[in-house]
Homo-oligomer: 329 residues x 2
Amino acid sequence: MSPATVSRVLNKPELVEPETKERVRGAIKALDFQPSAIARGLSVQRTDTIGLVVPGITDLFFGELYRGIERASHESGMKVLLFDAQHARHRAFEGFTFLRQHRVGGIIFTSKVVSEDYDPVLERIGIPVVLALTEATGRTALPAFKVDDVKAVFDAVAYLVSRGHRRVGMITGDMSDDLTGDLRLQGYRAGLEHYGIPYQSSWVETGDYRFTTGYQAMRRLLEHQEQNQLTAVCAASDEMAIGAIRCLHDHGLKVPDDFSVLGFDDLGVAHMTVPALTTIAQPFAEIGERAVQQLVQMIADDTIHASGTYYLPHRIVERESVRALSDLS
Amino acid sequence: MSPATVSRVLNKPELVEPETKERVRGAIKALDFQPSAIARGLSVQRTDTIGLVVPGITDLFFGELYRGIERASHESGMKVLLFDAQHARHRAFEGFTFLRQHRVGGIIFTSKVVSEDYDPVLERIGIPVVLALTEATGRTALPAFKVDDVKAVFDAVAYLVSRGHRRVGMITGDMSDDLTGDLRLQGYRAGLEHYGIPYQSSWVETGDYRFTTGYQAMRRLLEHQEQNQLTAVCAASDEMAIGAIRCLHDHGLKVPDDFSVLGFDDLGVAHMTVPALTTIAQPFAEIGERAVQQLVQMIADDTIHASGTYYLPHRIVERESVRALSDLS
DNA sequence: TTGAAAGCGCTAACAT
DNA sequence: ATGTTAGCGCTTTCAA
């Protein structure tokens, strides 16, 4: 029988006689025929694939985000093509090229801020791009799904203050390639200000979101502890919070008895540590889902132009790393 | 100019006059031309892509493994197409189909044992398959890259014995879909036997490699602690070891002072916990690299038939969760 | 309801 | 050194 018929039983089985349909299906089974997604893609000029660019596949939050992306893609009948930029800016651009050459319908870009240097490529990209865990600062506006970082850290200090802490420090994230570092610091300053606590630069240290730099930042904080008299610290990531706890431990300070630590992310590891981490949870899976839903919509509508930052709710997960200060702070 | 010329400047630039080459390149830049990888794939009947089937992308070891896979693929000019089986057997089979339809040159399959029910699909698959972190038990022999699990756990108990522990328990992994659980238990029994310690079934509990089941397994172990008098436990994964530590902590036992715990994997989290985890390190990245090298070789040789289990070296990473028992055990 | 034919965007063999 | 042509394996008119 003709290739056209085979194609029909695969794609629009209702158009074909039940009997021939069965014959075709039998042959497919018998020959273990695997229709070429490549040829199909070329023919229909569509691959039902969305591209995903992540800064680093080993980042602990990636798995949580991917879970949502996978789920929503599957629901929309989309596959996902992954590109790991390995924390290198030029690799991210390579990723865009790679994905375009593979004719994905659109791209989800993650975590790193999309600044004006992306504009030239974004302007000619021709397919929709949506952002997750970050937002765009260049002149090309892009839809973005994330938590409200400044509000989140504001809430974090509010929480700490409500437990009697006033001398709270901050371990923030990298301010260059990553918008969240800056935003979270803003939230911290806003929080202090709201509670009438004067901001002191010696209360904040910067890391790169990873364990080691969290440890080091905490050590630097401890060097000025005599004058600072901090009782708590907010970290811009769980990993840094865990590093800070480890540092405190190595200096003979018990968490939370002697010092409180608040994380950010609520990764799987947050409940594995001793003490378990009190942290600001980001809804990673939901962010992933929403991002693909938006992207799928744009692909269906054949639009490239959409924008707006959609804030998804964060929440504080209370575990064991923060204690309420009794009476006097 | 003709499409053929464009194709040539892209693929065999040496065959084209410098001047036309420049003109073509100029046009490519100007038009932001993105050659279709789809059309190319169809034309050359090759995609330079290898398929990767993982049981769960959120598994903590996945990132470490992927790092090696990515590196080696990149070196060989291969892309990787990822399929997440989400810990469901039927999803793994779907993955095979998906990858075949996308005409990958070969497949790397991870972690779950490849038992006889894979034989029917493996026999007709037509492309090379190599295993990482697992091996094949069915009649289809496949090349496999992994640590020697029985030797590794044997070494683990030897290590514990050398620190004065004799009453050492085991938290093993799922024995059904995952070969390593069984292998590691064998290593444990062999270790005990070698040191003349009688095996007792009440010394071993089973989990599923995750934190929670590690916690629960430890709790069950503790229920018989009065008669067992264990001083140490080996876990079949870092996550379970961390769960066990947490359980011990909740029962007022300090690690390593009151009880020693040995992990397996050496994931990134192993050095983040308090106490930092002493563990058997698996060379995940190297396993990933070797697997793709083997696969690439098979693709180049156009063979499907290869086999053999290649053991990569494990090692013990000493940190803080095991203490040497002084004098009497 | 099925088949024949053209075309998707490339590459490769052949011709110039 | 470049252009022409056919064909990769599908889908999709269009015709029967």
